[in-house]
Symmetry: C2
């Protein structure tokens, strides 16, 4: 019997218990022994749950029990999740987590702590919910240099953008509907402002480049400013508006940011709709690979937590190499101004103005979006180059979105 403890018995925690129960037979076969949830740490009691008698309120009971070799942290938030994780690793226990905030903020330190205590710290569930992405990037793509990673990393905002596209509705209307359906939280800030996606893209950037950026400092723009004009422009250009976390190397430095993009239909990520997530990894040998699936939700996320549990318990005799991350310094980070891409500008005016904008932006053509509004897709350029080109042009700029090619 392999004894584990669950920290947090909310959505993902109770989902993890459900996956362990539902798929017990195959999990036992894969681990070689039965996996037993000996403790559940939560502030609440769950008297009606079959595992209600496993609930404890004191982390030390778990830390001091030598039978516990693995702890699954699914508390959410930084504190006390970070402190409990550090304590568990220091006590020589493996830790798996779905907590992107802790990984994105304290990943360097916790991986070092795990290494020091000869245990593992796995976090497949922290990005893309149940979608396999963390482990494939470390193993299947290990033969490749990662050129860039671009992901739809937040299901709530993707649901909202998909609705806006399909129904021509405005952001505020769709947000209310998403909240009513439970797809968006009462306080949707972390989702709609791109904060959740920022945490996830810094984790993916660290996997790609070994350097963990501070998610609070990367350029982060959410979808609250997306309007019907953006959606209409996208449609005219055969694109979809998607909230994208993007990272790439620029002259040896690392750029990471979150922004709404126009994504052309030729990019497979443009077809990732509704609450689904999709992560496109650009590599130097394989080319592009897309990983698609349920990026959130109880059982999908729990399925990734349990995959990590199985990985550790089925190789428990071995010491495995952990990713070696370091914290970013100012020299590591490419500024927003250094990032070059095509951008779609919408201007107000006449065809003459549109032609002028097209010339200034090095675009191939302009198209009419609606009466007196024209869209121009620029050549690949930096934002400040584009701004300089348009300065003093007298053109009335309405919107600008980067294009994900």
């Amino acid at each position: 019997m392999l004894n584990i403890a669950l920290l947090g018995f909310g959505v993902v925690g109770s989902g993890t218990a459900e996956v362990l129960t539902e798929n017990e037979r195959l999990i036992t076969a894969r681990c070689g022994e039965q996996v037993n949830v000996k403790y559940i740490l939560d502030l609440r009691e769950f008297p009606d749950h079959p595992l209600g008698n496993r609930v404890v309120h004191d982390i030390d009971i778990i830390l001091n029990d030598p039978e516990i070799t693995l702890v699954a942290e699914m508390m959410g938030g930084s504190h006390p999740a970070y402190e409990f994780t550090a304590a568990a690793l220091s006590a020589g226990k493996h830790v798996v987590t779905s907590n992107k905030e802790v990984v994105a903020t304290f990943g360097v330190e916790l991986l070092a702590l795990a290494r020091q205590h000869h245990v593992r710290y796995l976090f497949e569930a922290s990005v893309g919910g149940g979608i396999p992405i963390i482990r494939p990037m470390q193993t299947d793509l290990a033969s490749n240099e990662i050129i860039a990673v671009s992901g739809i990393l937040n299901g709530t905002t993707n649901f909202i953008l998909t609705k806006m596209k399909n129904e021509g509705a405005e952001f505020a209307t769709v947000l209310k509907e998403a909240q009513a359906k439970g797809y968006a939280e009462a306080n949707p800030t972390a989702d709609v402002e791109g904060i959740d996606a920022a945490r996830k893209i810094v984790i993916l950037a660290a996997l790609a480049y070994g350097v963990l950026l501070d998610p609070k400092t990367i350029p982060t723009l959410g979808i609250t400013g997306i309007t019907g004009l953006h959606t209409a422009t996208a449609q005219k250009l055969g694109c979809a508006v998607k909230l994208i976390g993007h990272t790439e190397r620029i002259n040896g430095k690392i750029y990471a940011g979150v922004s709404p993009y126009l994504v052309p239909a030729s990019n497979p990520i443009s077809h990732v709709d509704d609450v689904y997530n999709g992560i496109l990894v650009d590599t130097n040998m394989l080319g592009r690979a897309l990983f698609y699936g349920a990026g959130a939700g109880k059982l999908p996320t729990a399925s990734a937590v349990v995959a990590d549990i199985i990985d550790i318990l089925s190789h428990r005799a071995e010491e495995r190499r952990l990713p070696d991350w370091r914290s970013a310094t100012a020299e590591d980070v490419a500024e927003r101004g250094e990032y070059a891409c095509r951008r779609c500008y919408v201007i107000a005016g006449c065809p003459k103005c549109a032609e002028k904008a097209r010339t200034l932006l090095g675009g191939e053509s302009y198209i009419s979006v609606e009466d007196g509004k024209y869209a121009i897709v620029s050549r690949v350029m930096r934002e400040n180059e584009a701004e300089a080109a348009l300065a003093d042009s007298g053109l009335e700029l309405l919107t600008c979105l980067p294009v994900l090619d």
Copy 2:
């Protein structure tokens, strides 16, 4: 220095050498030591290649060299690839391969041999080219029961079907163009008749269910019979025609087969176009996950071979569990007649005939494809049920394709 041998120096073999050279720095870091191609086994000489001096013509030189701990087999075809693989495993050498024919035919025996000699036999490159799928199914999806796997597993046929869709061209025309471009071989039988896809779907079925079916005996239909009428019907229904390898469990038995399907736009696999492959895995906890990327080609396939090399060499001190497959017996296999799905029938006649067919097939509606031709999508039913329903109806049946929901 970690010495390895490459068997076969064709497209994938020379690609593997290229990946090892191009990404040498990161591969060395991941393996902990430099990887050195000590031997290349091929019938030919490569005097102008930088590694030309590594070419040998006698497998025994490799088998008898204790410095060689790993052999990468990329010869293609069953023989002598199978014999050389068996000999290498028996000599205590790890083997990685891109050879789907060998894995699909001799996988059970070779995995047992590897287990017996405490070495590993990995085959990530055998399905989906460079797309991570074999390892994710064994690790990331290990917490899930696999309900079904459906894949676009052959790039050549997907290129042809995409062209037929976009240009309204007929099969023979597009095949010629694909051959001229090098996307299809002079003898395209293995691709266009679905034989290549059949090998790949039995490998995926074995990963899902632990039982290896004989690829020669599963229902296999290629795309040579696909006409403009199929393409037009698909378009009318908002679907794409795709050659799909599909496996699922039916009443405890395993069904696996290859056939052209109509794939609705709501299924993410419908957007996998051109030479790309996409594999959709249906699971009981995560739901659906799609893996997408370059399913063939020199560097993509080689990138998967090298990922397997890194996996083995970076964990060389450990003994790892290998998949435990057994060969299918007659009782394991669900017959084609047991497989139920929606099917799209096109009939010739009048609206009255179409309404009659709709009733018999339990469809929701019928649509006009072109003058005097109507399409009806049946309810979920077995093929023989549908045939029985239509027997003696007097309806003139033109085409039938299963639908991948």
